[in-house]
């Protein structure tokens, strides 16, 4: 009896240990699929199953990345691209925030401005690219404005909705506590609208990035998009890949940054975080 119980206990401990050993940390799980893909890819390239001009191997791309980084070409192009995207995002997003607040606060400004803005919104912003080129030429202005146009709407709409979504019951509290105008905005309306505004920021950043790619591919003499187009002319496929990966990584990093901001600013929220 005793030994059987002991054996059972021992067995349980073992399975518990095995389970513990098998438990992979969450952040590692995301690497699983990419690593397998990379391995298969590298093998297919090394075994010359695929031509290098169609699909260069991961190592070749890495090497090209290294060369671009050392020569300073990459940094110079990235600097220009990021400046464009940031400029466009700040202009468009800033105006979106401003208009969202103005329209959100007042029914009057809403009835004057919102219908026109909603009409503009239905125009796909990439479709106006030719027009922007006609008006502003191929230089920086047209690119920044194109990015700004795309970045405007998500922040505008989400700010507006966030402000209008503030719980009316909390306004009663603000009246009972005799909040001043300033405090009504800083202690009630803006914090309540913040989750929505940050969502707008994330969406706008995504669109700004997309606008940048389009603007640079259309025609430019510097920037990551230019680097891609230039490499394509000389069939330097690995350089094209480097450009694409840079776009992806920087896009992901900015998104992660806003999510970090969300976690910091919205730590009071206790919403559903997903199951395992």
């Amino acid at each position: 009896m005793k030994t059987a119980a002991f054996a059972e206990l021992n067995g349980r401990e073992k399975t518990a240990k095995v389970r513990k050993a098998r438990k992979v940390p969450g952040w590692l799980k995301g690497f699983f699929v990419p690593i397998i893909i990379l391995a298969v890819w590298q093998y297919a390239g090394s075994a010359e199953l695929i031509s290098a001009t169609v699909l260069p191997t991961p190592l070749a791309i890495l090497l090209s990345f290294y060369e671009l980084a050392v020569s300073g070409e990459l940094a110079a192009n990235m600097q220009i691209s990021i400046a464009r995207a940031a400029g466009g995002f700040l202009l468009g997003g800033g105006l979106g925030l401003l208009f969202g607040i103005l329209v959100g606060f007042s029914k009057k400004t809403e009835s004057y401005l919102d219908p026109s803005l909603q009409m503009l919104r239905t125009v796909p912003h990439l479709a106006v690219t030719p027009l922007f080129i006609l008006w502003f030429g191929f230089d920086e202005l047209s690119k920044v404005l194109l990015i700004a146009l795309g970045a405007f709407f998500p922040i505008y709409i989400n700010t507006f909705l966030g402000i209008r979504g503030v719980d009316a019951k909390l306004f009663d509290v603000a009246r009972v506590l005799e909040f001043s105008w300033r405090h009504q905005i800083t202690r009630l309306i803006l914090p309540a609208a913040l989750p929505s505004i940050l969502l707008g920021v994330r969406l706008s950043l995504g669109i700004a990035w997309l606008g940048l790619v389009v603007a640079e591919l259309m025609g430019s003499s510097a920037g990551v998009g230019y680097m891609i187009m230039d490499a394509r002319q000389f069939s330097q496929t690995e350089k094209v890949f480097v450009g694409i990966i840079i776009f992806a990584v920087v896009g992901k990093l900015t998104d992660s940054f806003v999510r970090l901001l969300e976690r910091k600013l919205l730590k009071w929220r206790s919403s559903f975080q997903g199951t395992n």
Binding site: K169, V176, R187, W268
Partner: protein, 251 residues
């Protein structure tokens, strides 16, 4: 100081909700208002707070007419209505500056009074219903109201927490000598807390009975005098048309 409430008529559209309700209470009284659901208790309290001004009549606190909500008429809603993005101490301070040492000190005192010491930095999402309601009470008390109006503040809580908060409230009332008006649908609660008890009837809401309660504090629910009063309130309830609704009365 007196609180004097005169409501000739209050209607929503065609429906008359309150009809001819007049009473005065003295400084330091604890008035409890009880009545069937829908008889207009919340409406009456909102009028007293200045949150509802569309009625015929007048409300005066200390001889000053109440025309809009304000900090001298503290209001505790049925749900706590805390700001979810502010911590306990920030919620209590609300629009006041916690960096001001005077504010900080009073906030801390109030946190101790409502027995929440140690939870200063918690967010409302991390609090139980009873704790949140205590924060709301502290928030109103910080403004040193002349009168505190409470609309079924403990209605959503379990019996245990409710009893605890009732004792907290009596404690505050005795320490701060604030005039209290508390709406409830719990007969025991109305007798346990009140020095005056108003029974309302429905359709339209009218004053059915005004009952002074002269039991000494601390009160004991099992005393014969408590039970006798309870019986009396129940009888009044039965005289009103919709007498069935009396949650917590044990019938």
């Amino acid at each position: 100081m007196t609180v004097s409430i005169h409501v000739n008529e209050k209607a929503f559209g065609r429906a008359v909700v309150l009809d001819d309700i007049h009473f005065d209470i003295q400084k330091g009284e604890f008035l409890t208002i009880i009545g069937p659901s829908g008889c207009g208790k919340s409406t009456l309290l909102k009028i007293a707070a200045g949150l509802d001004t569309e009625y015929s009549g007048s409300v005066e606190i200390n001889g000053r007419e109440v025309t809009r909500p304000g900090i001298s008429q503290g209001f505790i809603f049925q749900e706590h209505r805390l700001f979810p993005w502010l911590t306990v101490e920030q919620n209590i301070a609300a629009d006041l500056n916690l960096r001001d040492p005077n504010v900080k000190k009073t906030v801390q005192e109030l946190i101790d009074i409502v027995r929440l010491t140690g939870n200063e930095k918690a967010y409302p999402a991390e609090l139980s219903g009873g704790m949140s309601q205590r924060v709301a009470i502290a928030r109103a008390l910080l403004r040193e109201p002349e009168v505190l109006l409470l609309d079924e503040p403990f209605g959503a809580l379990d019996a245990f927490t409710r009893k605890h908060l009732q004792d907290v409230l009596i404690d505050i009332w005795q320490k701060k000598k604030i005039t209290m008006i508390l709406v409830t649908h719990d007969i025991d609660e109305s007798i346990y807390l009140g020095t005056q008890l108003a029974i309302l009837r429905a359709n339209p809401g009218r004053l059915q009975k005004w009952l002074p309660i002269e039991l000494l504090f601390p009160r004991n629910r099992t005393d014969t005098s408590f039970q006798y009063l309870r019986q009396k309130v129940l009888e009044e309830f039965e005289k009103t048309e919709h007498s069935v609704y009396a949650e917590g009365a044990g019938i």
